[in-house]
Symmetry: C2
Subunit: 226 residues, 2 copies
DNA sequence: GCAAAAGCAAGAGCACTGCTCTCGTTGTGG
DNA sequence: CCACAACGAGAGCAGTGCTCTTGCTTTTGC
């Protein structure tokens, strides 16, 4: 620590502040974030920002990781607050939606179209999987406790692929459950993106929460949760 | 026509060529399309392009409308080629996916995150609704012919809202069917976007078509198609 | 303790962007 | 035939990401 620790701490604070300012800019300007504007807001030269982030993409990557962790946190907290399987599932999915509604631009950053020429680095794949892993875990736990309704198993190449993934992350869950969980997750993303990106305009304007709830209950039903 | 007709035709051809070049650029550069680069490719000054499109956003809007119509065409053609209700549904949804895989950047343009500061003009809402209206029509036709399995009706604000929409576009369809069709459409979008935007990486890599088929058959089942 | 090394901020500069304005040219309708 | 509208080109403005150089400060090695 000592003197060098001071510098490291200052550096960390600066990094955080840049991210905070950038996040604020994200709210108004969306994905085309201007590094120069961020620098102006911080009262420093634009070139100075490059001491902390090697490029604009790297700044975006940092924001993406933070966003993934934020949704993940929200979903996990909501799931932990519930007891029944269905309630845990609905709590998690609604928490994701609530977070997306509160942070639409960050949602767009992680689940919208990828920035052209931007390849997601290794650092993002961990945080990115938290929500789907949470859903899979909820389903798996319910299954292992014998509380998931019977359904006929699935076959096909994707079933085997998902089965292999399940062995690693949610051992004990049969392919059909993993497929159903994954399917629910994709439906979840589609429903939220559609709501945020304006596709529901002029069809469901008042009771969007109800419509989302209807869809997620449908997914829970397909999974076999009760 | 005569002389003025010539000029009008040349103008139309120019407009089309600009769109074609822009579309080509979309493939490589994605959504951050450069008007100047398009102009360069056409061997004209960048300012000349503004004779045909008042702004970059207007060019994008034209591309968006074309894209909506392209998916709409593909889906309608596929549905028309099938006879059974389920086959029509699966044909349409697979056609949408096939089109998206063939034109990923155009898919991102219409179903990805909206361009910041870009508000979809009135001209886009018509073409934008073609796919969902097609799905709703398939379901409605099957229902009116008495071929849709019974399900318990739905209630709630969103059901009334969707019921009102149905009266206008697909008269005769009960709210629960419209809701199910809409839900399927959102699931469809989520599944395709996830596949295109890389969310399936390292989980379903080989049999993505099979996984999509599984999901859409699940939706058809929820609707009650046979 | 002090010099060398590394970290840092600032400014200038490059190549690019969307967009506007002006200025000749060229085709068109009366 | 001629006034007028459409057109293409060029210059220019404000903005962008990013690099390089120049001083200054802090940390580190001896």
């Amino acid at each position: 620590m000592s003197a060098s620790g001071v510098r490291a701490r200052v550096r960390a604070e600066m990094t955080e502040e840049i991210k905070a300012v950038a996040k604020r800019h994200l709210v108004t300007d969306g994905a085309n974030l201007s590094l120069r504007a961020v620098a102006r807001d911080m009262g420093m030269a634009s070139s100075a920002v490059y001491r902390y982030f090697a490029s604009r993409d790297e700044l975006l990557t940092a924001l993406i990781i933070d966003a993934y962790n934020a949704v993940g946190d929200a979903a996990e907290r909501a799931a932990a607050a519930e007891k029944g399987d269905l309630d845990r599932f609905l709590g998690a999915t609604h928490a994701v939606r609530d977070w997306a509604l509160a942070n639409p631009h960050e949602w767009a950053l992680i689940y919208g179209s990828p920035v052209p020429g931007y390849e997601a680095p290794q650092d993002t794949i961990g945080p990115a999987t938290r929500v789907i892993l949470l859903i899979a875990a909820i389903v798996r736990d319910a299954y292992l406790a014998g509380r998931v309704a019977e359904r006929e198993p699935i076959t096909g190449g994707f079933a085997e692929e998902l089965g292999r993934v399940a062995e690693q992350y949610t051992p004990g869950a049969p392919p059909r459950l993993v497929a159903a969980a994954m399917s629910s997750f994709l439906h979840l993303g589609g429903a939220i993106s559609a709501e945020l990106f304006g596709q529901l305009k002029n069809s469901v304007d008042e009771d969007r929460r109800g419509f989302f709830d209807y869809q997620m209950r449908g997914e829970a039903d397909r999974i076999g949760l009760t």
